[in-house]
């Protein structure tokens, strides 16, 4: 199979990812791309706690992920790739042309952000970055769970 979902979610590994998406996709591995987490054993142990033992969790920095992306895409199993913020998504897409889509699954309220969808809050700068990402040919949609509609980027930025 391949990486079935590229997701931006500031909670990274959590119930919606592992159960909500993981079950219907029959996911066998999750790639968490985050420069900070990839350098912290303590953080990695914390995120592994939320994942059943039959699902492999891979931690990678952005440069490492860009290098390893072709191997994950060629993996016979189904996987999910996660990033925690829009800057990381953009950085990965710039380094790895294999990235063709991103699902905005959860970007929550913070000072300077305003509500775009119930589960998506963005600054104007973040919204512009998503539009630019889409402009480079990456399909950007917002969808928290598989049963929800995938909202096109133009509708929430």
């Amino acid at each position: 199979m391949t990486l079935a979902l590229y997701r931006i979610d500031d909670r990274l590994i959590h119930g919606q990812v592992v159960v909500g998406w993981g079950q219907p996709l029959d996911v066998s591995f999750i790639v968490l791309v985050d420069d900070e987490v990839s350098g912290s054993d303590w953080e990695q142990d914390l995120y592994r706690m939320g994942v059943p033992p039959h699902i492999e969790v891979i931690f990678a920095s952005v440069p490492a992920a860009a290098e390893l992306l072709p191997s994950w895409e060629a993996d016979a199993r189904v996987g999910i790739l996660l990033v925690g913020d829009i800057d990381t998504a953009v950085a990965l897409a710039e380094r790895a042309p294999q990235v063709r889509r991103f699902n905005v699954g959860g970007v929550h309220h913070r000072t300077g952000r305003r509500e775009r969808l119930r589960f998506v809050y963005l600054t104007d700068e973040e919204a512009a970055k998503l539009r630019q990402l889409a402009g480079r040919g990456v399909e950007v949609t917002a969808q928290d769970v598989p049963t929800a509609r995938a909202v096109p980027v133009a509708e929430f930025t």
Binding site: D10, R11, V18, L46, R48, M49, H108, H109
Partner: protein
């Protein structure tokens, strides 16, 4: 030693429902504080946790052994020595906890785990 506070950290309204159930059964009010992760990123959830814990000491009762509720709770506890974290919260452990809050957080956490685990069983047909 000041009496422990219990903070239930959950998805949706699970925490509020558990607090209501404990109060209905025991009549004890104010021992438990519900925190929901609804609409929260990690920063907002940490802020909710901080307000709920107050000065501590406290035990954080988290619904699942993974996910946003746990990651925020574990990070918070790492920075505060008088906080313990228990996952897999259930009503039985909370009922025991509210009557045993004059012990150190780590001991209360172990006691809650024992009480909660004993309540999980398959009943005879």
């Amino acid at each position: 030693m000041s009496e422990l506070r219990g903070v239930i950290v959950s998805h949706a309204a699970v925490a509020q429902a558990l607090v209501a159930a404990v109060t209905a059964i025991t009549g004890i009010e104010g021992a438990l504080t519900p925190v929901s992760n609804e609409g929260c990123g990690s920063e907002a959830l940490t802020e909710r946790l901080s307000q709920a814990v107050g000065r501590g000491p406290a035990v954080l009762f988290v619904d699942l052994p993974g996910g946003s509720c746990l990651t925020s709770s574990a990070r918070y506890a790492k920075q505060h020595a008088d906080i313990a974290v228990v996952t897999g919260v259930n009503l039985a452990m909370l009922l025991d906890f509210v009557f045993h809050r004059n012990i150190p957080p780590a001991e209360a956490a172990r006691r809650a785990v024992d009480a909660g685990a004993k309540a999980i069983r398959v009943t005879a047909a």
